[in-house]
């Protein structure tokens, strides 16, 4: 059984909401990369990625978020991850990436 990843992008002025649902792994990572990276290339844009519906992510997923983070530095945009499930959050913590990527698991609300 192979799970899919759904990516929904909602433009909201200077904020872009990215809603992800499913699994992020080697199979679905190209799709995420294709959707996420171009968004980071717009100056002053805040990209808020909602991971509430992501029940699994492996380390290849982290690679995409690192690329995205590097890209935000280059283009002066901003990346924020919100509503991470515990297992996904743990991955960011182990790898120390929570110290360089803005992660807010407590945020509630938004137009989900």
């Amino acid at each position: 059984m192979k799970m899919n990843l759904e990516v929904e992008v909602v433009e909201n002025g200077s904020t872009t909401n990215v809603l992800l649902a499913g699994e992020i792994d080697a199979y679905t990572v190209p799709k995420l990369k294709e959707a996420l990276l171009p968004l980071t290339e717009r100056q002053n844009q805040l990209i808020e990625v909602n991971l509430e519906q992501v029940n699994y992510m492996d380390s290849t997923g982290l690679g995409v978020f690192i690329s995205a983070l590097k890209s935000t530095k280059q283009y002066k945009s901003e990346l924020k991850l919100i509503r991470l499930q515990d297992k996904v959050k743990r991955l960011f913590e182990i790898t120390g990436l929570d110290s360089i990527i803005t992660i807010d698991s407590t945020v509630r609300g938004g137009n989900v």
Partner: protein
């Protein structure tokens, strides 16, 4: 089973047999005929051609319309024939690539090979099994004249050949550091700069480095975002996670790594692993970290090398012998 002959006569016979009897056997033989044709690189349009000839022989008064439509089909099949030829040549190329990769995989094994050292009072077991031909996992032992043991365990994120190649880079830069800089935090800081400069932005490396001094029984360690290992305290009969915070290698060039210490006593154990162990995927779920530890506990009474091999076999069985990720496990027991 009759031997299938690759000629018009045989095809005509089969066709005739089928037209008269609608016999399944003839259909089966036609299938064999096609398979044999493929082995002999006979193109689909040639088969259509044989069909036309056979049809005309069986039905000399074939209506002109059918005849014409057959010629039409023949033309239509030509591009299929070309595509099939291309497929064949791709298949050959794929075989070539496969053998080249296996040469590279052998090369990698030679480059990354490490000797499990014997250190007074330590029983060391280590195993690393790649999921595909080339591994993105790596472990390395360094023993110096004072019997100090350096242990590195690492995992490249970003799979395949590039990941495997970057591991060789890690090994050689590690070997080039002067002895005076062999403490874990300095090693990770140096490696981090090497990786940051030389590796693709979406690729990064997690690594744990430990240094054990048998004179003091102190184990010093630092982690660059690596999956935490376990420490077994024999006196309290308790397993704990080896907690160490640190950013993965290759993300930021000025990362500083904190160094931690543990005192290792008789009967204690250090267990290091990669996420291929903890992200072991069962049919419909992922195994939990606690379950991983439970499995490891089952085998820790064995000599260290036997234990790591048994744990591997257990997870291999659990995943139906299909590893999704490289698997690396090291167990170090202090037996004096």
């Amino acid at each position: 089973m009759n031997k299938v002959n690759l000629d018009l006569e045989n095809y005509r016979k089969l066709l005739k047999q089928y037209m008269i009897t609608q016999d399944e056997k003839a259909l089966y033989q036609a299938e064999q005929f096609t398979k044999l044709s493929m082995q002999h690189n006979i193109s689909p349009e040639e088969i259509v051609n044989v069909h036309i000839q056979a049809l005309k022989e069986i039905y000399p008064d074939l209506p002109k319309e059918i005849d014409d439509s057959m010629s039409f089909l023949l033309e239509a099949m030509i591009s299929y024939g070309l595509a099939y030829q291309e497929f064949q040549s791709l298949r050959e190329k794929q075989l070539e690539l496969k053998s080249e990769i296996s040469v590279a995989a052998n090369m990698q094994q030679t480059l990354l090979s490490t000797v499990k050292p014997s250190i007074r009072g330590l029983d060391i077991g280590a195993t690393s099994i790649p999921a595909n031909q080339m591994s993105g996992d790596y472990y390395h032992f360094v023993k110096d004249n004072e019997d100090t043991l350096g242990i590195a365990i690492a995992d490249v994120i970003g799979k395949g050949v590039p990941a495997a190649l970057s591991m060789s880079m890690i090994k050689y830069s590690m070997d080039s550091f002067p002895l005076s800089q062999r403490n874990p935090s300095a090693i990770l800081e140096n490696l981090n700069r090497v990786v940051e400069r030389n590796v693709d932005p979406s690729m990064f490396i997690t690594m744990f480095y430990g240094l054990y001094d048998p004179k003091t029984s102190v184990f010093q360690y630092s982690s660059a975002g690596h999956e935490p290992g376990f420490y077994y305290n024999a006196k309290m009969d308790k397993f704990d996670e080896i907690k160490a915070k640190g950013l993965v290698l290759g993300v930021s060039n000025d990362t500083v790594y904190q160094q931690y210490e543990l005192e290792i006593n008789k009967g204690d154990m250090i267990i290091l692993l990669t996420d291929g162990v903890t992200e072991c995927r069962l049919a419909d779920r992922f195994i939990e970290r606690d379950e991983v530890l439970d499995v490891i506990k089952k085998f820790t009474h064995l000599p260290a090398q036997e234990a790591v091999e048994q744990v591997y076999k257990y997870f291999e069985r659990l995943q139906d012998f299909q590893l999704r990720d490289d698997f690396t496990l090291i167990i170090i027991k202090k037996d004096v």
